[in-house]
């Protein structure tokens, strides 16, 4: 197979995997730098809490280090880091949700602020969206976060979650539909409240 287009991220990761295979301790910091933001974002939007997300992202990276320590260099070289690290952080998040019931937030927010150029308003709107995400069932939320917050391809998601692409597409679709409904209801509520 000839790949006409190779994702820039995948290319960087392939180079990183090669370095990790040669010298884990000298290259692990580069892995952290390349992936810490996305692992934090994924955990933040799955768990809905910053403190939990920090711990989950760190836990995932520590587990990754432990796994890399035990792998043969050949295996490390072949690793596709983006989906692989995603698998780890999602598992860490699932475990945390099992232990600590994640609050499914009620939609009691006021997304507020008319002019959205106002940075405060923009932040409030993001918080509102984040809260809305937390109302989704975990499997839909995870699929949506990976697809639309992290921007993974369905192929990468399939590798990360070990599920067929079709299943994941359906989960994302159902999740987006649920968000749209919630949004419409919200609009409706507000109309009633302000009528």
């Amino acid at each position: 197979m000839f790949h006409w287009v190779m994702d820039a991220n995948a290319e960087l990761d392939a180079a990183l995997s090669a370095r990790l295979a040669v010298d884990l301790d000298a290259s692990f910091e580069a892995l952290v730098q390349a992936h810490v933001d996305r692992l934090f974002s994924i955990a933040l939007r799955i768990l809905g809490d910053r403190g939990d997300a920090e711990e989950a992202a760190q836990d995932a990276l520590v587990r990754a280090y432990g796994a890399l320590e035990g792998y043969e260099p050949a295996r490390v070289r072949e690793l596709r880091l983006r989906p692989w690290l995603t698998t780890i952080v999602v598992n860490v998040c699932r475990n945390r949700m099992r232990v600590k019931r994640v609050r499914t937030t009620e939609l009691g927010f006021d997304p507020g602020a008319e002019p959205l150029v106002d940075p405060v308003a923009r932040r409030d709107a993001r918080e509102a969206w984040a809260a809305l995400l937390m109302t989704l069932p975990a499997s839909q939320r995870i699929a949506i976060v990976l697809r639309h917050v992290d921007g993974l391809s369905y192929q990468e998601m399939s590798a990360a979650l070990d599920k067929p692409e079709g299943t994941l597409k359906a989960q994302v679709h159902r999740g987006l539909a649920a968000l749209r409904h919630a949004l419409a209801d919200e609009g409706h509520d507000h109309r009633e409240m302000t009528a």
């Binding site: 301790d25 692990f28 910091e29 952290v32 730098q33 810490v36 933001d37 996305r38 692992l39 934090f40 974002s41 933040l44 939007r45 910053r50 920090e54 992202a57 760190q58 990276l61 520590v62 280090y65 432990g66 927010f109 006021d110 997304p111 507020g112 602020a113 008319e114 002019p115 959205l116 150029v117 308003a121 923009r122 709107a125 993001r126 509102a128 969206w129 984040a130 809305l132 995400l133 949506i144 976060v145 639309h148 917050v149 992290d150 921007g151 987006l176 968000l179 749209r180 949004l183 419409a184 919200e186 609009g187 507000h190 409240m193 302000t194």
Partner: protein, 284 residues
């Protein structure tokens, strides 16, 4: 009242006119955000590729303690943080970052250990040192608070009876003084000897704080006394052994050498092992 905007980043539309999936997707794409700045460093600390440090109070004043996920990596008395960070990087190749305090459990364990309570395990990160150095440091860890041992004792105990000078060098390179109590190792002739953490005066201070009076020790050394025996048990000890300290003056017998003790029919103490585990402490 306003409604949730479907596209907050774009700053256009509202729930009623822009509930399309594309707008929702665009809003979701704004939810990624950078990790807190310390997360990356904290992760490297957790796996032992970087270190944190903070100050603790000791009988020698405030000292820096550095640690990572593998254990305590340094106890340091440098004049300032920069000097310490540079020396730490030169030794380990890792960056140390100052933080407010030690992790509570580690802090408590160190505090108790310095107060003489040895029940708390303190993990040590000794990467980068030789097997010989580690053997010397781990042996020093066996010396109880309030007691001292000669360099030759360490050498004999680790099965390298002739490596007395190398033992001294290894103790001088101890990266974790106080916790690894190299201050409890003194010259084979009984004099206090050198100390890596600020010189002999600090060594006297810390030994005195632990109840091993350096003046008494050096007094014995000057008088040529190496061992103390009991004429009731016919056992001889190093002078600071807790067994030796229980001998009443009326029953105390002093020996200038192990040979003298043996000739008098005494056997070595099993606790302080005055001639080392191998029983081969050369000249002394």
């Amino acid at each position: 009242m306003t409604r949730l905007h479907a596209s907050p980043a774009a700053g256009v539309g509202s729930a009623t006119d822009r509930t399309g999936l594309a707008a929702i997707e665009a809003a979701l794409a704004t939810l990624a955000e950078p990790a807190p700045p310390r997360l990356g460093h904290a992760t490297l600390v957790a796996v032992g590729l970087a270190d944190d440090y903070a100050e603790i109070a000791t009988p020698l004043g405030a000292l820096r303690v550095a640690w990572n996920g593998r254990g305590v990596s340094a106890v340091d008395g440098s004049v300032d943080d920069r000097t310490f960070e540079r020396a730490f990087f030169a030794r380990t190749g890792r960056h140390a970052e100052r933080v407010g305090a030690l992790p509570p459990r580690l802090g408590r364990a160190i505090e108790r250990r310095l107060a003489g309570d040895r029940r708390n395990r303190i993990p040590l990160d000794l990467r980068g040192s030789t097997e010989f150095e580690q053997a010397v440091w781990l042996k020093a860890l066996e010396i109880p608070r309030g007691e001292v041992r000669p360099y030759g004792w360490i050498a004999a105990e680790i099965g390298r009876p002739r490596a007395v000078r190398a033992v001294g060098t290894a103790l001088g390179h101890n990266p974790i003084p106080l916790i690894v109590p190299c201050h409890r190792v003194v010259r084979t002739d009984g004099h206090i000897g050198q100390y890596s953490l600020g010189g002999p005066d600090n060594k006297r201070t810390i030994l005195a704080a632990e109840g091993a009076d350096p003046d008494v020790l050096e007094g014995l050394a000057r008088a040529g006394i190496r061992y103390i025996g009991s004429d009731t048990t016919h056992i001889f000890c190093l002078p600071t052994c807790h067994d030796a300290r229980r001998v009443t003056p009326a029953h105390e017998v002093r020996f200038p050498s192990s040979r003298a003790a043996f000739e008098a029919g005494y056997r070595p103490c099993k606790h302080c092992r005055p001639i080392g585990a191998a029983g081969a402490l050369g000249a002394a």
